[in-house]
Structures are given as structure tokens and as C-alpha cells.
């Protein structure tokens, strides 16, 4: 746990109860009784997000129904110096919405209205609690859709997507959340209304949207988002290619790009993952392949047939042992069904799994996979791999049993090893799931103390009292020092006695 984040266990029961009574009394003035939860049995559903290994009891859960109520809750919390953790659907995978033991969890689930679809301007104005997929569904009658498609898109909300800068399988061609959001309206920590961006393509002054998107709820509270909609491609087709060697598969990815092709999607699965998903969806995957690549082209029918032919040639030259091209939409969806079900399929193999999310330069795909294979032996745990190969974003799924404390511990070490190896290879500790609470230690590896302090200074420019989602994303110096000690214990760092930050 971060030093700045007190846990309920460390706080005296009496102190917590007193504070709780004070906050409940303040918020009861602005919220109806049903919108204010603080009894243990009522707040249990809010104890964690998609990262279930970490749990915390919120002091109070507020469920405002109007913007005026949100502003009033923020004003009251600011006055009382109470931390506020905004929460959408709770599907996040890094603990970004983990409650603060002495804070208010601000659930924005009731803001779930699509305000406007403007087909001429190709924009949608939606409240923060609207689900990602619901935007594309509402835009579909106009031949438009919202491009970023994180795998949780049926459940995750646009407010959460803004907080995490969510990606998906089409990022290389269509960009991340940041590239597809025009305007965010919401509140500062003080309850003051604020608007970032506009319906124009830029705005005056610093481009604050760049830091707001991906800030994990630490700079402002998002209430309404204007997103760009893009025309739905007339056609999409997908190639499924098998490789008998991981290095050949990795090189094939580089060769597709080198040929001047930007695929709409380019995904890879390793052999253990292929076996797991085939058992789950029965899509006819090649079980002998060491790696399977899914390579998609979209556009006009003419464009797609031109591009598919070029992709096929490159993949064949790269040593693909089997190639199939989707003949129709049903077959294309079948090709994708395994990739999209990688997580539930893994869930059937193991009582628990931890999903990692680092990014590496594409050329190191084979290197990291081989390194992960060695780690499986080192930590005595199995790992299946899916990659957004086009972006170099990997999702190793480490399988373990959470009831076995030693397995959980080994899993954490395995995960940390993957993140550190990714940074060593020139990558980053989080591609799209965010830092939250899960990767705080990894941030110590990726960033120097002055860089972390600069990020904290940036946060204080928005939130001087550090009340919005405190203790997430930026690790404290003390935490990093502690993490450094752990390294020394594991014998990874030589010269343990020299000063380190």
C-alpha cells in the first residue's frame, strides 16, 4: 500500500466512526437518504473494482443524481478535507477506483443519459456513466461509431475511459480515448464547474485535455463527455495466420508495418492461450501453432481486397504455416471470438489470474515472450499471453490460486518481473489499464524522483489539497525507497549500500 493511503485497519475504530458521522451529517443536507450509504453491508459492492485482490471499505458512498448534488458533495468534502474517489462501472483493472478508508466514494452511475447524437458534426454528447458500447449502438443508425473499444466495452463507462485513456484492439489505426474525445465537462475538486476542450478541434491556451485524459480521477471529476464519431467502415476482413516459431511471428508483425500497412487490428495469442480459448469457443484455432496472429483490414471493399492481398503476401513471406482469410462477417467474428474471450477462458483454467498490461517496442515481442516462459519456471506458475501486437501492448495472464498465500506472493513477483523487464526493453509499465494502486511500485522503476515530484506538482495545480483519489498513480518517495529495499532482498540490485532514491 502507498504510504499516503491509510487503510481501515490502521485507523482507530473510534476515529473512523467520528469522522463518518461528521461526513454523513454534512452530505445528508444535500443528498436524499437513498443516495447516501455508509453501513458496512451497503458499501460492500464498492470495496473494489476489477482488481479484486485489493479491497477497502469506503467511509461513505455518495450516489448523487443531479449535477448540483455532485457540486455540493464536492464542496462539502473540500471544506471537511475528505478525500473523494470518483467511480464509474468499477471495471478498471488496476485499482484506480479502490476506495479511500477515510474518503467518500462518489458513484456516478446515475449519470447514464446519451444527451445528443449529432450526425452532421459526427459527435456524441454523453453523460459520464454511459457505457462505451452504448455510444456506438446509439450512433449506428447514422452509419457512425465510437472507435476505442476496450474489451470491457459492454460494461465500462465513458467517464472511466476518460480516466484511464482506454484503448482496445483498434488503437494503432484509430487512436486512444484522448484522440477521440473533444470536450469534457465536470467539476474541480472545489465543486467549481469546469470545461476542458470544446467542439472545435483545439482550444486556447495549454491543451489540458492531454493530462486530464488518463489522470485516473486525480485532477477533476468528469460529468459529461463529447466524443468524436467516425464512419463505420463498409467492410472488415481478418486474416488468421499460424506460426511455428515465436520469433517468426514477432518479425511478421514488424514486416507488416515495414510494408507500409497499418492494420485495423493486429493481435497475437501464444499456444497456451490458443488452447484455452479453443476449448472455450471452438472457433477452429490451429492448436499446433506456437503463435497465432489476427490481422484485420477495414475500409471500402476495393481498399480491403487490396490490403488483404498485401498482408497475405507479407505473412506468407514471414513464414506463416497456415493462413485463412475470413470469407464473411460471421467467420470474421468467429476468428475474433477467441481473442475477445481470452480472459474468461483463462478463468476456466485457474481459480484466479492476474492480468498484466505493459507495452514494449514491437521488435521485442519474441524477446519478452521467451523471458516470460523462463519466468514461468522461476516462479512456478503458468502464464498465457495475448498481445495487442500492433501496439506492442501485452496482456500476460498469470494463473494462481489466491487461497494459497505463497502463490499470490509468487504471482506478484512474477508480475513485477514482467513490468521491470518491459521497462528494460524500452517499454512502459502500463499500456492501457492504468497505474491505480496495482502498479505504484512499478512507477518507481520507470520514473526518477524528480519526475514523480513533477507529476505531483501537476496534480496540485488542479487539486492543491490532494483530495481527489489520493495515493494513486504517483508513488510516494517512502514507498519507492521501501520497494528499493525489497529489490535488494531479492538480490536484483548490486551495491546495496549506496544511496538510492
Amino acid at each position: 500500500m502507498n504510504a499516503a493511503l491509510p487503510t481501515s485497519a490502521a485507523i482507530s475504530i473510534q476515529a473512523r466512526a467520528t469522522r463518518q458521522a461528521e461526513v454523513v451529517a454534512a452530505l445528508a443536507e444535500m443528498l436524499p437518504a437513498h443516495a447516501l450509504l455508509w453501513h458496512r453491508e451497503d458499501t460492500i459492492p464498492y470495496e473494489c473494482d476489477g482488481l479484486t485482490a485489493y479491497r477497502e471499505q469506503p467511509l461513505v458512498v455518495a450516489l448523487p443524481e443531479t449535477e448540483a448534488q455532485v457540486a455540493a458533495v464536492l464542496r462539502a468534502c473540500h471544506r471537511l478535507n475528505v478525500p473523494v474517489v470518483a467511480r464509474g462501472a468499477g471495471t478498471g483493472l488496476s485499482g484506480g477506483a479502490l476506495p479511500n478508508a477515510m474518503g467518500v466514494t462518489l458513484s456516478l452511475a446515475k449519470f447514464n443519459r446519451i444527451v445528443k447524437i449529432d450526425p452532421a458534426a459526427r459527435t456524441a454528447v454523453v453523460q459520464c456513466g454511459v457505457r462505451n458500447l452504448a455510444i456506438s449502438e446509439a450512433a449506428a443508425p447514422h452509419g457512425l461509431y465510437y472507435a476505442p473499444d476496450p474489451s470491457s466495452q459492454i460494461a465500462c463507462t465513458i467517464g472511466g475511459n476518460v480516466a484511464e485513456n482506454s484503448g482496445g484492439v483498434h488503437c494503432l489505426k484509430y487512436g486512444l480515448t484522448l484522440h477521440n474525445v473533444l470536450r469534457v465537462r465536470g467539476f474541480m475538486v472545489t465543486g467549481e464547474a469546469v470545461e476542458f476542450g470544446s467542439e472545435a478541434l483545439d482550444c486556447a491556451g495549454l491543451d489540458l485535455m492531454t493530462v486530464l485524459v488518463g489522470s485516473e480521477g486525480m485532477l477533476a471529476v468528469t460529468l459529461e463527455v463529447t466524443v468524436k464519431l467516425v464512419p463505420k467502415p463498409q467492410l472488415a476482413r481478418c486474416i488468421m495466420a499460424s506460426f511455428d516459431d515465436m520469433r517468426k511471428a514477432g518479425d511478421a508483425v514488424a514486416s507488416v508495418i515495414a510494408a507500409g500497412i497499418i492494420p485495423a487490428g493486429l493481435e497475437m495469442m501464444d499456444k497456451p492461450m490458443t488452447a484455452a480459448v479453443e476449448d472455450f469457443v471452438h472457433a477452429g484455432y490451429d492448436l499446433d501453432a506456437v503463435a497465432i496472429l489476427l490481422c484485420e483490414s477495414d475500409g471500402t471493399p476495393e481498399e480491403v481486397s487490396e490490403e488483404i492481398a498485401r498482408m497475405e503476401a507479407v505473412l506468407r513471406d514471414s513464414g506463416a504455416t497456415r493462413l485463412s482469410v475470413s470469407a464473411d462477417e460471421a467467420q470474421r467474428l468467429k476468428f475474433w471470438s477467441g481473442r475477445k474471450n481470452a480472459f474468461p477462458a483463462t478463468g476456466r483454467l485457474s481459480p484466479d489470474y492476474m492480468c498484466m498490461d505493459s507495452t514494449i517496442p514491437r521488435k521485442r515481442l519474441a524477446d519478452i515472450l521467451l523471458a516470460i516462459q523462463q519466468m514461468e519456471t522461476k516462479y512456478g506458475l503458468r502464464c498465457a499471453n495475448v498481445f495487442h501486437a500492433g501496439d506492442g501492448n501485452l496482456h500476460p495472464l498469470i494463473m494462481f490460486d489466491a487461497n494459497d498465500a505463497d502463490q499470490l506472493h509468487r504471482c506478484e513477483l512474477f508480475g513485477a518481473d514482467i513490468l521491470e523487464t518491459s521497462v528494460q526493453m524500452g517499454g512502459t509499465v502500463s499500456g492501457e489499464h492504468g497505474v491505480g494502486i496495482e502498479k505504484l511500485s512499478a512507477m518507481c522503476v520507470q520514473f526518477a524522483p524528480e519526475e514523480r515530484e513533477q507529476m505531483m506538482a501537476l496534480k496540485r495545480a488542479f487539486d492543491p489539497k490532494e483530495l481527489l483519489n489520493p495515493g494513486k498513480v504517483i508513488p510516494s518517495l517512502a514507498r519507492c525507497a521501501e520497494y528499493g529495499k525489497m529489490h535488494v532482498r531479492r538480490g536484483l540490485l548490486p551495491f546495496a549500500d549506496i544511496p538510492r532514491f
Binding site: 450526425p119 452532421a120 458534426a121 459526427r122 447514422h142 484511464e164 488503437c171 487512436g175 484522448l178 484522440h179 474541480m188 472545489t190 470544446s198 467542439e199 472545435a200 478541434l201 483545439d202 482550444c203 486556447a204 491556451g205 495549454l206 491543451d207 492531454t210 493530462v211 485524459v213 488518463g214 464512419p231 514488424a254 508495418i257 507500409g260 475500409g299 471500402t300 476495393e302 481498399e303 507495452t359 514494449i360 517496442p361 501496439d391 506492442g392 501492448n393 524500452g426 512502459t428 509499465v429 502500463s430 499500456g431 489499464h433 497505474v435 502498479k439 520507470q446 524528480e450 519526475e451 513533477q454 507529476m455 506538482a457 501537476l458 496534480k459 496540485r460 495545480a461 498513480v473 504517483i474
Partner: protein, 372 residues
């Protein structure tokens, strides 16, 4: 970034001594955008001492290059591998010289944050920034982002630098996403009035067409298609109009990008005579504005250049009413402010961010907003 680079040490020393002396620095590359924003102030800090491309791997679609690198040279390096900066950054500078001699640098491109004709279709400079190394007001060298497409580790400070006008620090090095040059390009021209052109551009925007750039001026609509050969050929039939041959089309789009085209030549002359060149950034669907002057529309309606003698207040009000903002791009008198004024709490966030990165106010004082 090699922290022991002597050229980097020169810059760090300059910042440290400015800090000790309470001096202010004007960060400057080729000086091609001296006219842009508020008037430059402070002792010049020449970024061209730190130049060169540190890494470029075409199959990664990433180039990492230093602030003083010539933009023209970077583009030539990419072109040799069949790649490009898809957002077409402007060069500006002396139109009598070729782009290399004009001297625009990579640092200036990021700091100004300006993008060319293709911006509406492919995204802006900031959309292509993957990482950056910054020298802040404490003389600290810090890296944010990285060299990979997806990165959500910490706040995205590197993209915040795009358009920051050097107010947050010296941009030392950037990593940019590059793309392959599209296989086919075709320019079409047709006669059309302003309102019809705006409606048409927005209608095309909602269809899966390889529309890459557009310009409307003086009753003429010119559009550029770019993409796979088959897609461009198919779209040609949908869009109609007359084909503009490449030997005329290429210099036209370059002239639009660099402001050397006929419209901008006229605007530069008018500016010398006391008129103002405004850049209006609006929702693409905004109806024609009731403003007098010469007008050129780009980005499918989202960027409108207006050369006019109208009072600043009238132009800014009209832009704000249409949902956008107006920048006083070029004028002899910039007393109305180069950039549209900020409302609370955005003005406060700007002041606090400036303090967070440059507490002593060393870098480009007042270049973005007076007092910032």
C-alpha cells in the same frame, strides 16, 4: 537522452544561471514563429545546439529527435523510408527560401503545436507525440511518455508540451509516431459557395471516404483524397469535380501549410497595412460567420482563416458564439491578446501549472498569456 551530452549541459547551465540571476529566457530555434503568440521576451536561448535524431526505426513507426533538429531534415529522413509526419507541420519562415533554409526546428514545431491541412483527418501534432524530455525551471531533466504507442503510466506531460509555447520548459527531445506515406493521393476542385461547401464537407465526413484535406476560398472547394489506390479511385467518383494535376496540387497544399499560398500572401500584405489575420477554430458544422474580410476555410470547416480589419472583440465574440475560439495569428498590433482569454477556473490552472514547472518564471514570459 544522454544526460552527459555537453550540448545539454550548455542548456542546463544557462537555465541555472538565469535562475540564480533572476533572468528570463526566450527559447528559440530557427525563429520562424517569432511572430506567433505574444511578443518574445528574455535573453535568447538557442535550442539548435542540441540537434540530431537519436533513434529511428521505421518498423516501430517511431522517431526520437532533439529539439534543434531541422524539421526539413527530419522530414527528409522519414521520406527516405517512405514515411512522414502525417499532420503536416508548417515551416513558415522566408518564403523565398526552400524549407531547409527557412530553419524551422522540431522543438518549435512541438512548442507552437500547429498542424497543417490534413489535421482534421489524421490528428494534430499532440496526437503524434509519444514522449518527451523536458528541462524544467529548476534545471531538472525529466522524461515523460515513451517510444511506444500505448502508455498510461502517469500523467501525459509529453503531450501537454504541444502548444505550450515554451512556457513550461525547454523541450529537449521528442518521440513522435510516424506513418507510411499513403500509396495514392488525388486533388479535386469544384465551384461551390461557402454554405454549400460546409454542408458538403460535413456530409462527406460522415461517410467512409479517404478525405484527407480540404480548402474553400473564393467560391472554390478543393479536396485532397489520400489512402489506398482503390479507395481513392472509388471516392473520386463519389466526390466529383475536376482533377488538379499533381504538379499544381503539391505546391498548393504546401503553400497552404506554410502560408505562402496566394491567400496568405495577400493576408501578409494586408497585415502590413494594419489588418489582422485571424485563425478561427470552430466546430466544423458552424454556419458561415457574419464577419467581413477575406476568408479561407480548412479542416472540413473546423479551421477558418479571416483577414479582416474588424475589431478584435467582434471576431472573438462571433467565434465564441459558434462554439470555438479566435487566435490573433498575425497583426502589427496584438494588444487584444494573441490567444482568446481564459475563463475561470482554467486561468487559475494555467497559473498553477506554470508555477509547477517553472516556479521562477524563467521561460518565455508572457508568450502565451501576459503574466504567465
Amino acid at each position: 537522452m544522454n544526460h552527459n551530452d555537453p550540448a545539454l549541459q550548455v542548456l542546463i547551465d544557462r537555465v541555472q544561471s538565469a535562475r540564480a540571476a533572476g533572468a528570463q529566457l526566450c527559447i528559440r530555434g530557427g525563429g520562424t514563429k517569432d511572430f506567433y503568440g505574444e511578443v518574445p521576451q528574455g535573453e535568447p536561448l538557442d535550442t539548435r545546439v542540441l540537434e540530431g535524431t537519436s533513434s529511428y526505426e521505421p518498423t516501430e513507426l517511431v522517431v526520437t529527435t532533439r529539439c534543434g533538429t531541422s524539421l526539413a531534415e527530419l522530414e527528409a529522413l522519414l521520406a527516405a523510408q517512405g514515411q512522414c509526419l502525417p499532420f503536416e507541420p508548417p515551416h513558415f519562415g522566408d518564403p523565398g527560401l526552400d524549407t531547409r533554409a527557412r530553419g524551422a526546428t522540431v522543438g518549435g514545431m512541438i512548442a507552437a503545436g500547429l498542424s497543417g491541412p490534413s489535421r482534421a483527418a489524421v490528428g494534430s501534432v499532440r496526437d503524434h507525440v509519444l514522449g518527451a524530455t523536458l528541462l524544467n525551471g529548476q534545471g531538472e531533466v525529466m522524461s515523460f511518455g515513451g517510444q511506444v504507442m500505448k502508455n498510461v503510466a502517469g500523467y501525459d506531460v509529453s503531450r501537454l508540451l504541444a502548444g505550450s509555447m515554451g512556457t513550461l520548459g525547454v523541450i529537449l527531445e521528442v518521440s513522435l509516431k510516424v506513418l507510411p506515406v499513403a500509396p495514392a493521393t488525388l486533388t479535386l476542385r469544384m465551384e461551390m459557395d461557402q454554405a454549400s461547401a460546409l454542408a458538403q464537407l460535413n456530409a462527406w465526413g460522415g461517410q467512409p471516404l479517404p478525405l484527407n484535406a480540404s480548402a474553400w476560398w473564393d467560391g472554390n472547394l478543393i479536396v485532397r483524397l489520400r489512402g489506398a489506390l482503390a479507395a481513392v479511385q472509388a471516392a473520386r467518383a463519389t466526390i466529383g469535380g475536376q482533377v488538379v494535376e499533381p504538379q499544381f496540387a503539391s505546391p498548393f497544399w504546401a503553400g497552404l501549410r506554410d502560408h505562402t499560398d496566394e491567400f496568405f500572401e495577400g493576408a501578409h500584405t494586408a497585415v502590413k497595412g494594419g489588418a489582422s489575420l485571424w485563425r478561427l477554430s470552430l466546430p466544423s458544422t458552424a454556419a458561415p460567420l457574419a464577419l467581413s474580410g477575406e476568408l479561407l476555410i480548412e479542416w472540413g470547416g473546423a479551421q477558418r482563416w479571416l483577414c479582416s480589419a474588424m475589431p478584435a472583440g467582434a471576431v472573438r465574440d462571433a467565434a465564441a458564439k459558434a462554439g470555438g475560439h479566435a487566435t490573433l495569428f498575425a497583426a502589427l498590433d496584438k494588444s487584444p491578446g494573441a490567444f482568446a482569454p481564459l475563463q475561470s477556473p482554467l486561468d487559475r490552472i494555467h497559473r498553477e501549472l506554470k508555477k509547477a514547472f517553472d516556479p521562477a518564471g524563467i521561460f518565455n514570459p508572457g508568450r502565451l498569456y501576459p503574466g504567465l
